[in-house]
C-alpha cells in the first residue's frame, strides 16, 4: 500500500494514519481478547484454589503486559493524529467525533489503567476476590474502550445524528443516541471484539502448541488450550455472524465499499459471490474489460445478493452503477451527486458572503439551495466521478483473505478441542506444527479486515460528506513525510524489541513466575 503513495501531503497523511493504525492493531486485538482468557484462568484458580491455574494465569498476564505496553504506546498517537494531520476534520466534525473519544477516556481508560496495576502488582496486596474483580475490570475496561472508539469509527462510515451548520461551517450533533446505537456501530463493535477474542485464542493455541512440540509444560499447555479452544470456537461463530451483519450494513450505507470488496463493476440481480479471483488491474470504471483475469464463483447462485440484501434475487449495485447512475434501479451516480455537491459548496460561499454584507434575502435564497443539496456536500469536492471509487484490488484481496482465514479458524479450534478431549493432542504433530503459525494467520486476517474497512471507504473521511483531501491539515508534504518516517522507525524498533522480549518470556515459560 505504501509503495503506491504519491508525494502529496494528503497521501502521506493517509499513509501515516494507515501505518500507525496498523501497528496499533497488531497489539490491540490480542489485548482485547486475552484479558478475557486471563480472567477465565484466574476465575478457575479462585474457584478451585489450585495454584497451577494461578501460575498459568500469571504466565498469560505477563505476555499480556508486554503486549499492552506497546499497544498504549502506539495508541496515544492515534488520538492526537486526528488533530495534527487532520485538523480540518477535527474542526468540521469535532462537535460529534470528540465526544466518544472523551467518553472512552472517562469510562474505559481509567478502568484499565487503575486495575491494571492491581492485576500485576496486587497479588499479595489485596484479597483474592478483589484481585479477581480487578482482572475482570481490566477486561471490561479494555473492551469498553473498543466500544467507544468503534462508535467513533462507525460514525465516519455512516454519519447519523448530525446536521451541517453553515454559520460555523461544521457538522453538529443532533442526537447522541443515534450516534451510539447506529447499526453500523453495533455491527462494527461486535465484529471487532469477537474477532479479537478469536485472535487471542489463536495466540494461546500457538504458544501452547509450541510447548507441546517441545514436550514441556504439557499440563499447562493442555489446560490453556481447552479454555482457548472453547472460547475461540464461540468467538468464531460470533465473528462469522457479526461479519455477515456488517456486510449487510455495508450494502445499506456503503454500497461502493461492498462493490469494491467483491470486484463488482456491473450491478446485477441474483449477483454471485466471487470465491477467489485475480483482479484485472487495468480495468477502469466504465470500460468494457473483464473485471477479473481469473475468478471462481461460489457454487450457489445469488449468494452476494443474499449477503447484501438477505434476498437471493435482489439487485446489488456495481461500481459502474454507483459512479454513472442506474435509472432503472433508481440509483444516483457519483456524477450527479457531484453536481449537487458543487451547488452546495457554491451556495455555502454565497450564503456566507450575503451574511457578511447583511443581505438577508440573498442569504435565505443561498441557504435554501444549500440545504437542498447538502446531503451531497462531499461529492462537490471530487474532481471526477471515478474518484469516488476506492482501490479495488487491495480491498478485494483483503476481504477475501479475511473471509478465507476466518472460515479456517473454527476448524482449527474444533480439531484442537476434539484431540484435547480425546487426550491425544500432544501426539498430533501434524496439527501442532501449523498450530504454531495460526496466530500469525489470525493477525493477517484481522489487519486485512481493517484494510477492507478503511481502504474500502476511500476517498471519504466522512462517508459522502467529507473527502480526505478536505479533512487534512494545512501542512507541507515534507513535514508529514518526516513524521511518517519518524514513526515508522520508532514503531519498527519497538516492535522488534517486543517480539524479542515476548519470545524470550515464552521460552522461559511459566516457571519464570
Amino acid at each position: 500500500m505504501i509503495e503506491n503513495v504519491d508525494l502529496t501531503m494528503v497521501n502521506w497523511a493517509r499513509a501515516q494514519f494507515a501505518l500507525t493504525a496498523m501497528y496499533h492493531w497488531i497489539f490491540v486485538p490480542l489485548t482485547l481478547g486475552i484479558t478475557w482468557l486471563c480472567a477465565f484462568y484466574e476465575t478457575i484458580y479462585v474457584k478451585t484454589g489450585n495454584e497451577e491455574w494461578k501460575q498459568l494465569a500469571k504466565f498469560w498476564m505477563k505476555l499480556f503486559g508486554i503486549n499492552f505496553a506497546i499497544g498504549v504506546a502506539t495508541g496515544i498517537i492515534l488520538e492526537f493524529e486526528f488533530g495534527t494531520n487532520w485538523s480540518n476534520y477535527s474542526w468540521m466534525v469535532g462537535d460529534i467525533f470528540g465526544a466518544p473519544l472523551a467518553i472512552e477516556g472517562i469510562l474505559a481508560f481509567f478502568l484499565e489503567a487503575t486495575f491494571f496495576a492491581v492485576m500485576f502488582f496486587g497479588w499479595d496486596r489485596v484479597s483474592k476476590r478483589f484481585h479477581l474483580v480487578s482482572t475482570w475490570m481490566v477486561a471490561i475496561g479494555s473492551n469498553l474502550s473498543a466500544v467507544w472508539i468503534l462508535i467513533a469509527n462507525a460514525w465516519m462510515q455512516h454519519p447519523v445524528g448530525q446536521e451541517f451548520n453553515p454559520d460555523t461551517a461544521r457538522f453538529e450533533m443532533q442526537n447522541i443516541m443515534e450516534v451510539i446505537l447506529s447499526p453500523v456501530a453495533v455491527s462494527k463493535f461486535t465484529h471487532t471484539t469477537s474477532s479479537s477474542m478469536l485472535l487471542a485464542s489463536l495466540f494461546v493455541i500457538s504458544v501452547s502448541s509450541w510447548f507441546l512440540l517441545k514436550g514441556r509444560n504439557i499440563q499447562m499447555a493442555k489446560r490453556s488450550i481447552i479454555v482457548a479452544a472453547v472460547f475461540g470456537l464461540l468467538a468464531s461463530g460470533l465473528t462469522i455472524f457479526t461479519g455477515d451483519e456488517h456486510a449487510f450494513e455495508n450494502a445499506r450505507h456503503q454500497p461502493m465499499k461492498l462493490a469494491a470488496f467483491e470486484g463488482l463493476y456491473d450491478g446485477e440481480k441474483s449477483a454471485d459471490l466471487v470465491a477467489m479471483g485475480i483482479v484485472n488491474s487495468s480495468k477502469q470504471p466504465g470500460d468494457s474489460q473483464d473485471s477479473f483475469s481469473f475468478a471462481i464463483k461460489a457454487p450457489i447462485p445469488g449468494l452476494l445478493s443474499l449477503l447484501a440484501n438477505r434476498s437471493l434475487g435482489s439487485f446489488v449495485p456495481g461500481i459502474n452503477d454507483l459512479v454513472y447512475g442506474n435509472t432503472e434501479e433508481n440509483i444516483m451516480g457519483a456524477a450527479e451527486k457531484m453536481e449537487k455537491g458543487k451547488l452546495a459548496i457554491e451556495h455555502l460561499a454565497l450564503y456566507k458572503k450575503a451574511k457578511s454584507s447583511s443581505d438577508e434575502n440573498s442569504a435565505a435564497f443561498a441557504l435554501a439551495t444549500f440545504d437542498a443539496n447538502k446531503e451531497f456536500l462531499g461529492y462537490g469536492f471530487l474532481e471526477n466521478p471515478e474518484d469516488a471509487v476506492p482501490p479495488v484490488g487491495l480491498t478485494f484481496y483483503s476481504f477475501h483473505i479475511m473471509v478465507f482465514l476466518g472460515s479456517l479458524f473454527p476448524l482449527v479450534f474444533l480439531a484442537y478441542l476434539y484431540f484435547t478431549l480425546k487426550g491425544t493432542l500432544p501426539e498430533k504433530r501434524w496439527l501442532l506444527g501449523p498450530g504454531v503459525i495460526m496466530f500469525f494467520l489470525g493477525l493477517v486476517s484481522t489487519e486485512a479486515g481493517w484494510v477492507v474497512a478503511e481502504v474500502g471507504r476511500q476517498p471519504w473521511a466522512i462517508e459522502g460528506l467529507l473527502p480526505v483531501t478536505v479533512a487534512r491539515s494545512n501542512l507541507t508534504a515534507g513535514t508529514v513525510q518526516a513524521t511518517f518516517f519518524m514513526f515508522l522507525v520508532l514503531f519498527t524498533v519497538l516492535l522488534i524489541a517486543e517480539i524479542k522480549i515476548m519470545t524470550k518470556q515464552i521460552s522461559i515459560g511459566p516457571e519464570g513466575n
Binding site: 505496553a69 496515544i76 487503575t114
Partner: protein
C-alpha cells in the same frame, strides 16, 4: 436538568472540567519528575529497581489523564483541538513522541532480550520527564503569550510560523513555565517516592530523596517567580461582548483582581507546595509532603487555567491575527454536545473514587526491596 443551562454556563463548566483534568495531570507528573531523578537518587541497581517499580505502579494514571485531557478538549473545545494540534504541529508531535517512548520503558527495561538495553529505556524515561514536560509547559505558556495562526472564514487553520509550534519554546515566559513544571515534577516525584517506599534497608536513598525535594524546589523558584511577575505585568488578550479580541494591558493582573478567589487558589497552592517541601526536606520521618505538594500543584494549575480562560479572556490567542483568537465562547462544541457530555461527566466523581480507593488499597503498605525482588511482574 443540564439541558436547561445556557451555553455560556456550559462553556464555563467545561473550561472548569478541562482545567481540573489538566491540573490533575500536573500533579501526576510526579511520575515524570521521578523518572528524571532516577540517575541522581538511585546509586545501585536495587535502588533503581525500587524507584522504577514505585513509579511504575502509577505511570499509567498519568498517561491516561493526559489522554483524557486531550479527549476532553476535543469534545468540548474542538476548535482549540483542531487549531493547536494541526497548527503547532511539531511541539505536539515531539510531546507525543516522548510519551510513546515512555509507555514501553517500564515494561521493557529489565526484561531479557529487550533489544535496546536498560540504559536506553532509562534514557527514554528521562527524555519523557524533561523534554516532554518542558514542551507541555511551553505549549501551555502560549495560552498567555499567543501563537501564530490565522483562521479562515470556515474556521480552518493556517499556521504562520515555519517552526510550527516549536517557536513557543523560544519565548522566555513559555520556557520558564516549562522549566518550572520540570522542576516541580521533580519536587513532586521525590516527595512521592519518600511516601511510597519502605526505606528500612535503603536509608541513604531516603536521605537523597529528601535532599532532592528541596534542591528541585529551589531550582523551580526563579522560574515560577519569573512567570508570576511577567503574568502580572504583561499585556493580555481580552474579548468584549461582541467577541472582538484586543490587547489589554495588565490583563491577567486584572483577571486576578476581578476574581480574588483565583488569586486565593494560586496563593494557597504555592503555600501548600512549600509546606509539602518543608515537611519532606526538614523532617526525617514525615512522608505526607506529596499530598500537600500534589494538592498545591492542582490549585496552582487551576489558577493558571482559570486566568487564561475566564473573565472574557482569549485562552488561545493569535498574535498573527487577533480576531482569530480562541475564547471559550467561540471554540466550544454546541449546546447539545456540551449538555450530553456533562451527563457523562457526572461519572467523573465515581471514577475518582475508585482510583483513590485502589490507590489506597495498593499503597497502604510501603513498597519494599524484598517485594520488588521476589515479584516476577516487577519492572
Amino acid at each position: 436538568m443540564i439541558g436547561s443551562l445556557d451555553i455560556t454556563t456550559l462553556q464555563q463548566l467545561w473550561w472548569l472540567l478541562c482545567s481540573v483534568i489538566g491540573s490533575l495531570f500536573l500533579f501526576l507528573t510526579f511520575v515524570q519528575g521521578g523518572q528524571t531523578l532516577l540517575w541522581q537518587v538511585a546509586k545501585t541497581d536495587d535502588e533503581k529497581s525500587l524507584v522504577v517499580n514505585s513509579l511504575g505502579r502509577k505511570w499509567e494514571l498519568t498517561f491516561t489523564t493526559l489522554v483524557l485531557f486531550g479527549g476532553a478538549l476535543f469534545a468540548s473545545f474542538p476548535k482549540f483541538y483542531a487549531t493547536s494540534f494541526g497548527g503547532a504541529y511539531w511541539v505536539w508531535i515531539l510531546i507525543l513522541f516522548t510519551f510513546i517512548i515512555q509507555a514501553v520503558s517500564y515494561e521493557y527495561r529489565t526484561k531479557p532480550d529487550n533489544l535496546l538495553g536498560a540504559k536506553t529505556y532509562e534514557l527514554f524515561m528521562f527524555i519523557n520527564g524533561s523534554v516532554g514536560i518542558l514542551l507541555i509547559g511551553a505549549a501551555v505558556g502560549t495560552f498567555f503569550t499567543g501563537s501564530n495562526f490565522v483562521l479562515s472564514e470556515y474556521n480552518l487553520v493556517t499556521w504562520t510560523n515555519p517552526l510550527r509550534g516549536l517557536e513557543a519554546a523560544f519565548s522566555l515566559f513559555n520556557l520558564s513555565l516549562g522549566l518550572f513544571l520540570v522542576f516541580n515534577a521533580r519536587t513532586l516525584g521525590a516527595m512521592y517516592l519518600v511516601n511510597n517506599i519502605d526505606f528500612s534497608i535503603n536509608p541513604e536513598l531516603e536521605a537523597r530523596l529528601r535532599k532532592w525535594t528541596l534542591t528541585s524546589f529551589i531550582c523551580s523558584l526563579p522560574f515560577i517567580l519569573y512567570v508570576l511577575v511577567s503574568l502580572l505585568l504583561m499585556e493580555g488578550f481580552g474579548v468584549d461582548d461582541q467577541g472582538v479580541v484586543s490587547l489589554v494591558s495588565r490583563k491577567y493582573l486584572g483577571n486576578l483582581l476581578a476574581n480574588p478567589w483565583i488569586l486565593g487558589l494560586l496563593l494557597a497552592g504555592l503555600v501548600l507546595v512549600i509546606i509539602g517541601v518543608l515537611n519532606t526536606a526538614k523532617s526525617s520521618t514525615k512522608t505526607n509532603g506529596i499530598w500537600f505538594g500534589g494538592l498545591g500543584t492542582v490549585l496552582v494549575g487551576l489558577a493558571v487555567f482559570f486566568t487564561a480562560g475566564y473573565n472574557n479572556t482569549a485562552f488561545y490567542p493569535s498574535k498573527a491575527d487577533l480576531q482569530s483568537s480562541l475564547t471559550i465562547f467561540n471554540a466550544s462544541s454546541t449546546h447539545y454536545t456540551l449538555t450530553a457530555m456533562t451527563y457523562v461527566a457526572m461519572t467523573i466523581p465515581f471514577v475518582l473514587a475508585y482510583v483513590v480507593y485502589v490507590w489506597w488499597a495498593m499503597d497502604n503498605r510501603k513498597l519494599t526491596a524484598d517485594e520488588v525482588a521476589s515479584d516476577s511482574s516487577a519492572y
